[in-house]
């Protein structure tokens, strides 16, 4: 499915200062039974976000009225574990456009990029600064500029230049996806098969 374009956003951020947030926490396996891509956002962080009686857990950050925004900030090694793309879908469908961490698991990172969800990897020090800024002011805003590859803490004015594969950057800026690219390569792929 074609992805939404991503250019630049300014938003407060939702902090999740937990390390090794695995894809089973992002969306537990029992919520992977749909055959269409819908409804996953409701079950994002299901077992942390809801109590045993299915009421929202008031202690969980997404249930606190003072936190909002389209940027999710996680601890290091975010997205480890299963290859389920449902994890990226759930985060995106819950309204996030950017995930920030000091380290991402490979498959999660690829899945995020394939869905218009931008993974921004910053240094551990910068991650600490982001958490501290939100801790002091939960409405503090951050600006993510894909064209210039910068993540800016608008409170401190500090800016971090993040890395992204130039091809993936072009895809996100324009809303292109890899399938269009590959389908257009049909002749080259068939030639490759002949020579194998």
């Amino acid at each position: 499915m074609p992805i939404d374009k991503f250019v630049k956003i300014t938003s407060p951020a939702v902090p999740l200062p937990i390390e090794n947030v695995d894809t089973d926490q992002i969306i537990p396996a029992r919520f992977l039974k749909a055959v269409e891509r819908k409804g996953f956002g409701e079950n994002l962080f299901r077992d942390w976000r809801y109590l045993d009686n299915n009421e929202p857990n008031p202690e969980f950050v997404m249930n606190k009225a003072e936190f909002s925004g389209s940027i999710l900030v996680g601890g290091k090694n975010f997205g480890s574990g299963s290859s389920r793309e449902h994890a990226a879908w759930a985060i995106y469908d819950a309204g996030f456009k950017v995930v920030v961490s000091s380290f991402f698991a490979d498959i999660f990172k690829g899945n995020a990029l394939n869905n218009g969800l931008l993974p921004v990897q910053v240094t551990p020090e910068f991650l600490d600064e982001i958490f501290e800024t939100i801790d002091k002011n939960n409405k503090a805003e951050f600006t993510v500029d894909l064209e210039n590859q910068t993540f800016t803490n608008n409170t401190s004015g500090n800016s971090f230049e993040f890395e992204i594969n130039p091809y993936k950057k072009t895809c996100l800026l324009n809303g292109y996806d890899d399938i269009d690219y590959l389908v257009n390569m049909k002749d080259e792929i068939e030639a490759f098969e002949q020579n194998k």
Binding site: M1, P17, I18, E19, N20, D22, D24, Q25, P28, A29, R30, L32, K33, A34, V35, E36, R37, D47, D52, G75, K76, N77, S80, G81, S82, S83, R84, E85, H86, A88, F103, F104, A105, D106, I107, G110, N111, N114, N115, D128, N165, P166, Y167, K168, D177, D178, I179, Y181, L182, V183, M185, K186, E188, I189, F192, E193, K196
Partner: protein
């Protein structure tokens, strides 16, 4: 000529195109699909008006969702049944081989591929499942992908991937008695952490891996993803060729000779360079078990649970959160901890060798009354072999019963769920919070350790095996 690693040789032979400033377009030889990560990909194809490019290189089986009892009946859970039915319908529409429940080819996707000879040295293999790394045991480049990528492969038989970095993990020497392939893997993950392998493809080298059976090698490669690596592989040798030869989809006659000649070239050149190297001594490895909520939190079963001394900030908080979830205290022994459930099975340890080891240990003993044990073969073929070898009678005598194949309690998408707060010693791959059921607590271990725990009814070391 530039010296190449085994990984380079296989990867480079499949690059259709290098996108400027971007990933490689990689040709895929074998695509395995299952019911959970494929439906949205098929929907994507439909929306674009595309057909599956190479149905003959695609194989399907429902495994994640399926019950492990009464498989001849309709699946009770409506959503699970719908996913399984959808996979079957998609396969019929696109001409893909589908191994349905109860048929002789059915089983966990990473078990049936090697069994049927679909997995061969030098191939590129993908599946929408992170444990696709299992197939690396044959000297294949095999890795897990997301659903968008499943759609790419269905549509074009190619995938766009940046080439990973290369890591070599060398283990030399003989294993101590009671130490199995699973212990080697848990030992490595404990050393590397769950992110130490990220960005890399691992080659496992050294005499210890050479001595492993194909089943053992599959267990090691299966767990590569748990260190964060995309995959892991082992150079094919006589053990590999012997395993592949004669299987249903293995090359035959002249094709076999040709394939074999190529497979024999699949090894790392002497002076090839890796980005990262680790070397371990087999003599240092003991039976392992995990105490926390990620597979890197593993210790020798004889050791005490580590303390958070020396950790700070979020590291310390995450460690403490993990122990709190498990109901364990820092510094206490893991031996003697309660065990409520024992699970033998999954793509990690659901092969015949795992059942032999387990059965051998429990032979003539009795399962502890406080333990519920689920023994789930990885495939119909494994189940058949268990019966043919007379293992069922021994298991039943010891108080165990055999279930039907599937992923089962490894991820608890089916009815096999460990209840909240209960402890499961599991031969699987992940001990994440709630992995085996909401609020369940998982201790990862080998089939041998699981057998000892099932007999003693608490965390125990195997003895007198």
């Amino acid at each position: 000529m530039e010296a190449k690693t085994l990984f380079d040789k296989v990867w480079d032979a499949h690059v259709v195109k290098k996108v400027e400033g971007g990933p490689n377009v990689l040709y895929i030889d074998r695509h395995f699909i299952h019911e959970v990560t494929s439906p949205v990909a098929f929907l994507g194809l439909k929306n674009r008006g595309l057909k599956v490019a190479r149905p003959d290189q695609t194989t399907a089986t429902p495994d994640h969702n399926v019950p492990t009892t009464n498989q001849h009946l309709s699946i009770v859970d409506e959503l699970s049944r719908n996913q399984v039915d959808k996979l079957k319908a998609n396969c019929e529409e696109h001409g893909i081989t589908f191994h349905g429940l109860g048929t002789e080819g059915h089983g966990v996707v990473h078990i049936i591929g090697p069994e049927q000879g679909l997995t061969q040295p030098g191939m590129t293999i993908v599946c929408g499942d992170s444990h696709t790394s299992t197939h690396g045991a044959f000297g294949a480049v095999a890795f897990g992908i997301g659903t968008s990528e499943v759609e790419m492969v269905l549509a074009s038989q190619c995938i766009m991937q940046p080439k990973p970095k290369k890591m070599r993990i060398t283990v030399n020497g003989d294993l101590k008695p009671g130490v199995t392939a699973k212990d080697i893997a848990l030992y490595i993950i404990a050393k590397l952490s769950t992110s130490g392998g990220t960005g890399h493809f691992i080659e496992y080298a050294g005499t210890t891996f050479k001595q492993l059976s194909m089943e053992g090698r599959m267990t090691v490669c299966n767990l590569s993803i748990e260190s964060g690596a995309r995959g892991g592989l082992i150079a094919p040798d006589e053990t590999t060729f012997e395993y592949v030869k004669g299987r249903k989809y293995a090359p035959k006659g002249e094709e076999w000779d040709k394939a074999l000649a190529y497979w024999k070239t699949l090894k790392t050149d002497d002076n090839a360079v890796f980005d990262t190297e680790y070397t371990f001594d087999a003599a240092d490895i003991e039976p392992m078990i995990t105490y926390g909520t990620n597979p890197g939190m593993g210790i020798k079963i004889s050791e005490n649970i580590p303390t958070s001394d020396g950790l700070k900030g979020n590291d310390k908080k995450s460690f403490q959160k993990s122990l709190e979830y498990m109901g364990f205290k820092e510094g206490e022994p893991i031996l003697g901890k309660p065990v409520d459930y024992v699970f033998l099975g999954s793509c990690t340890n659901g092969r015949i060798e795992d059942f032999r080891v387990f059965t051998e240990y429990v032979k003539g003993k009795k399962k502890a009354d406080n333990v519920v044990a689920w023994l789930v073969p990885g495939s119909v073929a494994v189940e058949k072999q268990i019966r043919e070898e007379g293992l069922v009678e021994i298991l039943e005598e010891a108080g165990f019963e055999l279930r039907q194949p599937g992923c089962s309690a490894c991820l608890a998408m089916n009815p096999d769920k460990v209840p909240a707060g209960k402890y499961a010693v599991s031969t699987t791959n992940r001990n994440f919070e709630g992995r085996q059921g909401p609020k369940s607590r998982t201790l990862l271990a080998s089939p041998l350790v699981a057998a000892a725990c099932a007999i003693e009814g608490k965390v125990s070391t195997p003895t007198n095996f």
